[in-house]
């Protein structure tokens, strides 16, 4: 799976939980999930679970902690998929 494909899939996962439609429309690798997309902290758990299910990977808490932007999520997923 290419980086762009992973990005699009991650964006689709986050979309239902984002409260900032304008930021979502212009989202890129540097877009902050909490700060820019205004994803609620309770929904972060949903996002992590969705990523695990969608990509067939396990996301440890210490790795989830490093995911601040969409790009961080993409990097994590690509590393986990080898």
């Amino acid at each position: 799976m290419s980086k762009d494909e992973v990005f699009e899939k991650v964006l689709a996962i986050i979309k239902p939980f984002a409260k900032a439609p304008e930021a979502l429309a212009s989202a890129g690798m540097e877009t902050s999930i909490l700060k820019d997309l205004k994803v609620n902290s309770a929904r972060l758990v949903d996002v992590v679970l969705e990523i695990e299910d969608a990509f067939g990977i396990e996301v440890k808490d210490e790795d989830a902690d490093k995911v601040k932007t969409i790009g961080d999520a993409v990097t994590l997923i690509l590393a986990a998929k080898g």
Partner: protein
């Protein structure tokens, strides 16, 4: 220092999360899950535990800690009166109502806290700041216009910002403030240390 969190128990997103396979297990420790299994109101119980963890997280950030994504490492007591994380132990005050739960966590300081439902069409961010200012104005006995709540940028923080700070006439006020909103509810808590209590007393005597 103080942390608080309010959760709208029956908000659609929260109901969906609670029902999601793996969600509860990702948030609660095994001991907390045993408490949940015995709860007469499971959703209220879970969101009380979650709110306590969130409130403790906010307090830990004020202490310079970065607990990160480790929900299970922040443990809530069965009686909902304490929260622990590593060698920290905080006092917890949890209020469980039919439609919301509210958790306030402190390191022992007196607290003033309030939950409100502003009504449809209101901006929760603006409303919760207004609530924080109103509470502070009442405690300090000053006009609320002299008060401001701001959040400075903080690298490494989950949302890029540090905890909220209360300013009186542009200077840091001697009260800690914590804000939260979820669904139709907003909540604010003030930690009243000795300096804050003295200032309130002086303002009342003046």
């Amino acid at each position: 220092m103080v942390g608080n969190d309010v959760v709208a128990i029956h908000a659609a997103e929260n109901r969906a999360s609670f029902a999601r396979p793996g969600y509860v297990e990702r948030v609660l420790s095994p001991r907390e899950r045993r408490v949940l299994a015995r709860a007469p109101r499971p959703e209220a119980c879970f969101w009380s535990q979650f709110a306590a963890k969130e409130a403790a997280y906010k307090l830990l950030v004020q202490l310079g800690e970065l607990p990160g994504f480790g929900h299970r490492e922040i443990e809530v007591s069965e009686s909902l009166d304490a929260v622990t994380w590593r060698d920290h132990r905080f006092e917890l005050r949890a209020e469980v109502r039919p439609r919301w739960v509210h958790a306030v966590v402190t390191a022992g300081a007196p607290v003033v806290a309030r939950v409100l439902e502003p009504g449809a069409g209101h901006d929760p961010s603006g409303e919760v700041r207004a609530l924080g200012r109103a509470l502070a104005a009442a405690v300090l006995r000053v006009p609320w216009e002299r008060l401001e709540i701001r959040r400075a940028e903080l690298a490494g923080a989950w949302d890029g910002h540090g905890p909220p700070e209360l300013l009186l006439d542009g200077e840091r006020a001697p009260l800690a403030v914590s804000l939260s909103h979820d669904g139709p509810f907003v909540a604010a808590a003030l930690g009243i240390g000795r300096a804050g209590a003295a200032l309130a007393e002086a303002a009342g005597a003046g």
